[in-house]
């Protein structure tokens, strides 16, 4: 009786494979991203930073605004103040934790807003083409003709210090590069056969944009925009460092770096701490964006 079982093929390779769906684009993306250990580590760091910002009141051991001059500029490792105190005697650890709120908000918001506005401009210009394209893109080129730091400083310098003005200036800085990428990608997609086919089968412009263009264009633009977050973080903190963004006494890393500049002779380690936070955040976003670009196989 055992002979029947022995007749069955034992080598699984010889069995007929079940019909599998060919793996889709997104499963490929997830697979590629899963192999990129560095990008995963960066993603986890970004997630931790976001959690730190959201739950700052629960994590921070002390009030980030409460200072006492008798305990100003304590070194790293002081009991009760593991990362020391700043020039007004405020707990550095608590201020660095709360600082994630301002710094992340100031760095990410402009890129998000510019992603919205820039994509709109670029997609419309790329889809409509012709004279409209020329007028829109030449206008964008004017803003592109300014070095980014200069444009940000010029706008927020003229508008005056403050969070709102800094956000507006940075958004204006990031619209041109995003619009340019959006326009380039849209122009490519517009000339594809499937768009032609959709047009031939009677779809109107809005349907084509919604179904065929957006789906193929938003991914690459998004990946490009994530690459800008790290620049935006550095620029936003830079504006606050110059006194143009967040204003005292708010805990923002760039501003903290500025107010602690005078302390480099007494407490160099404490003075350098806020910059370490900016650096970690910016490099995490950078590596994460690189990983996304590779995983999504985007070339922009």
């Amino acid at each position: 009786m055992t002979s029947v079982a022995s007749l069955l093929p034992k080598d699984p390779a010889k069995t007929v494979a079940p019909i599998e769906r060919s793996p889709g684009y997104w499963s490929g993306v997830i697979k590629r991203f899963g192999k990129d250990k560095l990008a995963i580590a960066a993603g986890i760091l970004v997630l931790l930073l976001i959690l730190m910002a959201v739950f700052a009141p629960l994590i921070a051991p002390m009030d980030p605004y409460a200072g006492r001059t008798i305990r100003r500029l304590r070194p790293v490792g002081t009991t009760g103040f593991p990362l020391g105190t700043d020039e007004l005697g405020r707990d550095m650890l608590s201020r660095l934790i709360y600082g994630a709120r301002y710094s992340l908000m100031m760095g990410v918001t402009p890129v998000l807003m510019a992603f919205g506005v820039g994509s709109l401009i670029g997609i419309v210009a790329g889809y409509v083409g012709g004279k409209t394209n020329t007028v829109m893109m030449r206008t964008i080129d004017v803003f592109y003709a300014f070095p980014s730091v200069l444009l940000a400083v010029a706008l927020s310098g003229a508008l005056g210090a403050g969070i709102q003005n800094a956000l507006v200036s940075l958004t204006v800085v990031f619209i041109p590069p995003i619009a340019r990428v959006a326009e380039a990608v849209t122009t490519q997609v517009r000339n594809r056969d499937y768009v032609e086919a959709a047009r031939a089968s009677g779809a109107n412009g809005l349907t084509i944009i919604r179904v065929h263009v957006l789906g193929n264009v938003l991914g690459p633009i998004f990946v490009y925009a994530t690459g800008l977050i790290s620049v935006s973080m550095i620029l936003a903190s830079g504006l606050s460092f110059l006194g143009l963004g967040v204003r005292p006494p708010e805990p923002e890393w760039g501003l903290m770096l500025n107010t602690l500049r005078t302390a480099i002779y007494n407490q160099p380690l404490v003075a350098a701490l806020p910059g370490v936070m900016i650096f970690i955040t910016s490099i995490s976003f950078n590596v994460l964006a690189d990983g996304l670009r590779n995983a999504m196989d985007v070339k922009v």
Binding site: R138, V142, P147, L150, L242, L244, P274, I283, V287
Partner: protein
Amino acid sequence: MLTYLGKRLVYTIPIVIGVSIVCFGLVHIAPGDPLVSVLPPDASEQLKQQMMKAYGFDRPYYEQFLLWCWRALQGDLGTSIATGRAVSSEVLRAVKNTLLLSFVATLLGFFFGLLFGFVAGYFRNSPIDKIASILSVIGVSVPHYWLGMVLVIIFSVQLNWLPPTGAGPGGSSDWQPDWAHFRHLILPAVTMSVIPMGIVARTIRALVADILSQDFVPALRAKGLSEFGIFGHVVKNAAPTALAVMGLQLGYLLGGSILIETVFSWPGTGFLLNAAIFQRDLPLLQGTILVLALFFVLLNLIVDVIQTAIDPRIQRS
């Protein structure tokens, strides 16, 4: 080539006009009266009207703009409200210092960027490549104003080797080619060079890897050309892009020097901008930004022209 040059120049004109409009607009997006920093708060309405007339603020915008452009073309960028001196002379003095700093930083960053980029591109996925890649990611992610502070802490505060601020001994703001002045240049230039280093290394790495994977490389090798000879071909192919990146980076540094100049109290355009912003000296702000932005446009033009001139593959259509 000449027709290309002509077309490129024609294309630049609207950009220059646009840039001027933006700079002109800066004064008018500023909140409050453009005269707010000149007039005492209790100025009479009559005095205000007089001043508005004297500065030309009572005319329509397009007239003001044309007048401003006409004066700018003659080298007159207005008068600084804070110092009472001509904006053009203030900017000229500062631009020299910023140019020096950015130029040295670009050369430094370019040298190391090329070195890392070539090594990484040649030995792809080797440990050297990994290190070079990490260095270039650090280069583009580090907040350079913080790096400047760290360098000051290490080399000025702790080791006491180099001066922390200024462009020369005793607060002198005019640069001279001697050791005392050179010492002041080292820290800001090294700090500034980190950005182009990272970007150049990244670009060159990808470029070299791409060139080496092209068909002509095995062909050259089969022909019996030495590795050094092949290296020559790689350099020749990479040069146009490398030059373009370098030109653009110089432009970015010129415009973006404000943060580093603030850290090191370097008496350049960034320092001037900083002063202009906090004294609400709008003519000075406007003039400095116009000069820097036009510099950037000019640099872009030069880069494009040189790139086309040395790379026959770029179509001059």
